[in-house]
Subunit: 407 residues, 2 copies
Amino acid sequence: MYTRKKGTNLLDVQEMNRSLLIKLLRSNNVWTRAGLAKATGLKRATISNIINDFLDWGLVNEIGILYGEKNRRSIGISLRSDKYRVIGVRLSRNFFSIGLFDLAGVEYSYKVEKIDALAGPDIALKKIKKEITNLVEKNRQQKKIIGIGIAIPGPYFRNEGRIVLMTEFPGWDKISIKNELKKAFDIPVYFEHDANAAAIAEWWYGTHSRESGTLIFIFITEGVGSGIVIDGNLYRGNLGIAGEIGHTTVKADGPKCECGNNGCLEHYCSTIALVREVKNGLINYPQSILNKDYSVNSIFSAFNSEDKLADKVIKEFLKFLGYGIVNVVNSFNPDLVIIGGEIIQAGPKLLEILKSSVKEHLLPEIYNNTILEFSSLKSDEVVLGASLIAINKVLQNLSLLKEHLNI
Amino acid sequence: MYTRKKGTNLLDVQEMNRSLLIKLLRSNNVWTRAGLAKATGLKRATISNIINDFLDWGLVNEIGILYGEKNRRSIGISLRSDKYRVIGVRLSRNFFSIGLFDLAGVEYSYKVEKIDALAGPDIALKKIKKEITNLVEKNRQQKKIIGIGIAIPGPYFRNEGRIVLMTEFPGWDKISIKNELKKAFDIPVYFEHDANAAAIAEWWYGTHSRESGTLIFIFITEGVGSGIVIDGNLYRGNLGIAGEIGHTTVKADGPKCECGNNGCLEHYCSTIALVREVKNGLINYPQSILNKDYSVNSIFSAFNSEDKLADKVIKEFLKFLGYGIVNVVNSFNPDLVIIGGEIIQAGPKLLEILKSSVKEHLLPEIYNNTILEFSSLKSDEVVLGASLIAINKVLQNLSLLKEHLNI
DNA sequence: AATGAATGTTAAATTAATTTACAAATAAAT
DNA sequence: ATTTATTTGTAAATTAATTTAACATTCATT
């Protein structure tokens, strides 16, 4: 629902300019007052006032001497990103991962633990709570943890805190994870679904970091989802389920999906689909090296060593993924489409085939103006994204930030 | 490409608040100073200052006495929308329409003229220029025309001013209509493609006027396109071609389209497709009343009088349109999906079947939170939208407005 | 008839950015 | 080497927008 904007007063001006400076300070490691003045159009005196406040608050540091235009000396200004910590948690079907990050997204600890989501939420939630408690206790004497971001497999109705359409997660749709965790800790807990978290991580720290107008992050694991970042902000739609491309039809006469739809992209383009198709294809390809082991990684290595079955299955997979991407491109007209999730472990050969499939089905003028790449984030992009949800909540809200700074 | 925000100063505050007031004044017919103060959160003194300026500028009128809260007297304030005129033009394959509107979207004249776009742009452009000249001349002594909005069939690359993928428009991709018209008149000319224009008209003046967070306007004529309005603004994407759902795949093994893609929605869901399928089906339905006349309107009336062939063809059409809508809903998660174009002349029976098709393929929680309706705008919504493009340019840009007001 | 609340205006107060002036540092010109 | 110009940063005065506060009207309520 469209909400009416409020009027602006002087305090809002201050807040806007200070938030803008924080945003800029996040984007480069080191700034100078003069550089900030140029970038914002604000006068040097204004910048000085604000930065000196930031210094008083302990929000920024002056770090040595820089040489600016015409080699004039100037004072380096840097956000004290390591002053606080946030926790990022990724919940998945058979594991969860948890990381400790500073406000610049630097990782200080990381851990993966196996769980069995099929066994219901009780044990898994207990384990997650224990790990969070551990991190909180360990850091109590040192850096303050100011937020917890949780990424869960989507879709997820934002206002209710429940998981929807997760048939592999029996029992999880009955509870509100958000409330469960909110009441367990005295630290603010923020939620996002995994593809959105990965998308925001990509926007902030990917190869084309903070340059994209519309970024679509296509997240392929046991399902297919996507996160949409428009001008740096997640686009969520009415109920928060925008980007659910796994349940868009790419084959009108395709099989019925649990979501009610037919020929869903997810039916063709998930690791589950890969394994299923390999399994089904073994009869016709008895000589395939996948005969004994058809795990996802085996399929990828078989594909890269020219196994006939793997080649056939993955090319079919990519045909449909190509359609999915073409649909997203013609719908959203993004400048950046990033592929993430288990699938990218298959390596560059897969990307090349995918690209040629997409190119074939798009107008050249569109294809040539759309970047299609694998995610460049090596480590667990979802956990990083989960932490960024918490980081952004704090750093994009001046009054919340002041609260943490005790101002 | 993501562009960096600039800092805010006092002049910006003034501009923001004045623009906000204009926005509110547009949305209701009559306001009071106290009402504007409540709506914006600004103080009554501030509102008085701004409104009194607006009175000086001749931008608003005080119109009599209203009775506000607790029945206290107050002064009605109303935007002088009839002070200026804008021209809206809709270019189509075999006709163009042109309308004269005031700043509230009230129509003062309207005309449709046949053209043959197949014969190239020369004659058509000449006719359009002539009609624009007529309106300009006729109004020279009375109301000033401050903008011309042109809606052309999409897609359309914004920065180049050329029409792309319009195989039915030979020669039109060679010229820039924008430049042609820009140099012909001394009035600012603004461009938009037809689905976007209709979408913005719907957002402003449709049944759910100015309430929608994400509105998708699906425009079905000889092709299928859509316009996307997020928080009252058109979402255009990287090249301005967002919403090109006509060229999204709904049937992976479907026929090759001119765009390069396979099984495009447009192949199944356009009036061209309707006529084609009726034509092809006549052999099996010799008793159909469509035997002699298979124009679009005949097909619709045959459908409504239970003709077997029309029924079969339209139900197939709606099956695919249903997939298209489901895809859009799962991708954008809009709160409002509006169907427009020739297709809605088929009436409520078609809508009911479409709705049940969409309902069948969406999760109930999503379907129940998404409004799906025919456009409520009776008259030519594209021309109205074209004029709104011009109106919005002026009313959403204070300095442009001041220029027109000679301030 | 007295009281209280809503509407609108006016003048003073407030406050954030700007303007102006200045000092320090350094490059470029002489 | 000296002078000049430019960049960076700070400090005080100014500007300009909203807010605050005080007041007059108007009308409902008691």
